[in-house]
């Protein structure tokens, strides 16, 4: 029973962090129909900024989200204005190619600034745990998971309780009608791109404390994040959160009860299985043209 509780708690902590990062990716897709291949690269960028914050200034890397989030938000806003906006109405494949190039450039720039060595962020609590009964809860995971929840709640409040959020949802649901009621969809899209990347930047500060990283680490992240948002339903933040929890749970439970060798494969098998039954993902919606296509 203790082992099961331990597994469950570790799963939720991992899932919460996945949820934060995946929410940014699905938010960008939901509003702009852009699959941002560079999302993992900006996660790693967030980790490097947090590393510099911790290493040079001696400040807590998790508190570093107060700097990584606005920096990556600003970069996202700028990238949208300079690069994405000109091809906004081009076929979706063009934006995939663009963000693919952006991932390579970002990796290269990080390599030049921080080098290609593996980097670790080791605050004083990194090797410590809370011990509750027979269960150990690594402090870094607990703090990181809690922080991910806080950032997710802030994102949710922005999307549901503010005028900006209503504008974002309107632009996602029907861009043409949103324009008619005075919403500048292009400006909203720039903010959304910034917000989406900012979620990755915040996630980077957290994952940087949990796992060693180097500029090339984004390859592993983007595959996992794409699977999470597809399982959740493209464009659905709620779906991404649920899907991330399933991913975290599947990875950890498989590692404990089946074999670590299968831990990274089983979540993908679940994605396949769910999509066979619900091609639109857990919370995605089938539209008329999909029904016609089938």
């Amino acid at each position: 029973m203790t082992e099961f509780i331990q597994t469950l708690v570790l799963s939720l902590l991992v899932g919460g962090i996945y949820a934060l990062v995946a929410s940014g990716l699905t938010l960008i897709f939901g509003v702009m129909r852009v699959i941002n291949i560079a999302h993992g690269a900006f996660l790693i960028l967030g980790a490097f900024i947090a590393y510099t914050w911790w290493n040079q200034l001696g400040l807590d890397p998790l508190v570093g989200v107060v700097i990584t989030t606005p920096i990556v938000f600003g970069l996202g806003w700028l990238i949208y204005r300079l690069l994405v906006r000109p091809i906004r109405h081009a076929p979706m494949s063009s934006t995939v190619l663009l963000t693919f190039g952006l991932a390579l450039v970002t990796e290269g720039v990080m390599g030049v600034i921080w080098g290609n060595d593996s980097t670790s962020i080791n605050p004083s609590y990194v090797d410590q745990s809370f011990h509750v009964g027979g269960v150990f809860l690594p402090k870094a995971q607990v703090y990181g998971g809690a922080l991910a929840v806080v950032v997710l709640v802030v994102l949710w409040l922005i999307l549901t309780k503010t005028w900006l959020g209503r504008a974002i949802r309107a632009a996602a649901a029907n861009p043409a009608s949103a324009e008619l009621v005075g919403i500048k969809v292009t400006s909203v899209a720039a903010v959304v791109f910034g917000l989406g990347l900012a979620a990755a930047g915040a996630g980077g500060a957290i994952t940087g404390v949990l796992y060693p990283f180097l500029p090339g680490s984004h390859y592993l992240w983007i595959a996992r994040l794409l699977a999470i948002v597809v399982l959740g339903g493209l464009g659905s933040i709620e779906g991404a959160v649920i899907s991330a929890m399933i991913f975290g749970l599947a990875e950890t439970v498989t590692a404990v009860y089946i074999s670590p060798a299968w831990a990274t494969a089983v979540p993908y098998a679940i994605v396949f299985a769910v999509l066979l039954i619900r091609p639109q993902g857990l919370l995605g919606t089938r539209l008329r043209d999909d029904a016609v296509a089938t």
């Binding site: 597994t7 129909r33 190619l97 090797d127 011990h131 796992y211 983007i222 794409l226 670590p260 999909d290």
Partner: protein, 411 residues
């Protein structure tokens, strides 16, 4: 925000999936040189300068550059100045094949040097073999490299992966009963280098009566090691032998420390050999007593080592060359020795035949090979003692005596 056309979404995700796979395949070709002319000898290699293996790849590039610098300063090779043509394979098995084909057919290089990791050397060595070019690799110790009957392939380290931990295993066997571990755990990365390394040790220790209480293999994209550690904690082995590269080695070590459980002895492949990066990653206080197999020590009095260390420091402003840079330098030394002995590069089978029948002095020590190109020597065993990486085995080259036990004391 959930109203998304599945058809359009799927097209994009499919493309995105292909692109994310392609990310690794598009490292592109950065080169530092050109094809050979009458007064230059061009030597080509493709290294993982970006992607998963960028760390050893970048170090290997430095090793090759130091060798180039020293060879040219001493008059070159066969009287010609050496030019390096180095491409970036982005740690991708497909890219490396096209890179080595391009080096041979487009860049027209005169000689090849190998790349890093068994994963990349497996396909790269096939290209060299098909083109009948000598292929000396600085890494790629998987036994699978040498069961293909290749004639041009040589591994420039002391032993293949399955034999690299044998010196450690024999030492464990020789410990007095009071110190000898009774149980052991063997977690390993699913990797053609790490897994045979751990397996070789396990077979020796099981035969010596040390009971295996936990054994598992995990995938390369594993990030969370808490569950593996929880299982090891339950089994409570005296010794953990971990097959790792780098990030997973740090991950497992940190997970053990977080859990509050550590084994009495800890041996790990590769990770502890990364000098400063290792101590920064796991915390200097947590390294005390960790053991590992290593091919090189900057302190060793091997021919040319002092010159290598001095030149490396001059070129890269770092006092201690990483093991991967030294391995690359040694691979180039092996190639150089064969070329100078034969006196020509026209028939590279002659170079290979010469290597098969001779011993070459390198900064790693003397290297010799069997008919398959597998080396026939003994690996060094390192141990972190008082914050310093010491060579503790075999005794004739040791810089310190091995000590029993891992004593982590916090970051």
């Amino acid at each position: 925000m959930s109203h998304v056309s599945i058809r359009h979404g799927w097209k994009a995700v499919a493309l995105a999936g292909v692109m994310s796979l392609g990310l690794a395949a598009c490292g592109g070709g950065s080169s530092s040189g050109g094809s050979g002319s009458s007064d230059t000898l061009s030597i080509g290699a493709s290294l993982p300068l970006t992607g998963d293996f960028s760390e050893p790849g970048s170090a290997a590039k430095q090793g090759y550059q130091v060798w180039q610098q020293l060879v040219n300063a001493n008059g070159g090779l066969l009287g010609k100045q050496v030019k390096l043509v180095i491409k970036d394979d982005a740690s991708n098995q497909n890219t490396i094949v096209s890179d080595y084909n391009a080096l041979i057919s487009q860049d027209n290089v005169d000689m090849l040097l190998g790349t890093f990791s068994s994963l990349l050397n497996l396909p790269a060595s096939s290209v060299a073999e098909k083109n009948q070019m000598l292929y000396v690799e600085p890494a790629g110790g998987s036994p699978d490299m040498f069961n293909r009957g290749y004639k041009y392939l040589f591994f420039a380290q002391q032993a293949t992966a399955d034999k690299q931990g044998l010196v450690f295993a024999d030492w464990v066997k020789s410990l007095p009963p009071s110190q000898r571990p009774k149980t052991a755990a063997y977690p390993t990365l699913d990797d053609p280098f790490a897994a045979p390394n751990v397996d070789g040790i396990r077979q020796v220790l099981e035969a010596a009566g040390i009971k295996t209480v936990y054994k598992t293999t995990y995938a390369i994209d594993t990030k969370n090691f808490d569950s593996i550690v929880a299982a090891m904690k339950s089994a409570n082995p005296d010794l953990v032998v971990h097959g790792a590269t780098f990030e997973d080695g740090v991950g497992l070590t940190r997970a053990m420390l977080k859990s509050g459980w550590t084994p009495k002895m800890f041996y790990e492949t590769s990770t502890p050999s990364f000098a400063d990066q290792y101590t920064k990653a796991v915390g200097a206080g947590n390294t005390e007593g960790v053991m590992y197999a290593v091919s090189y020590s900057p302190e060793t009095d091997t021919p040319g080592n002092k010159e290598f260390v001095a030149e490396y420091k001059k070129m890269f402003h770092t006092a201690i060359p990483p093991e991967d840079a030294a391995d690359a330098y040694a691979a180039a030394q092996v190639m150089q020795a064969a070329v100078e002995a034969v006196g020509s590069i026209d028939d590279q089978l002659k170079l290979a035949d010469w290597l098969r029948s001779h011993t070459v002095d390198t900064i790693l020590g003397p290297l010799s090979w069997d008919d398959t190109g597998a080396p026939q020597g003994q690996f060094l065993i390192g141990q972190w003692l008082n914050g310093t990486a010491e060579i503790v085995l075999p005794p004739n080259v040791a810089t310190a005596k091995p000590e029993v036990g891992w004593h982590p004391s916090g970051s």
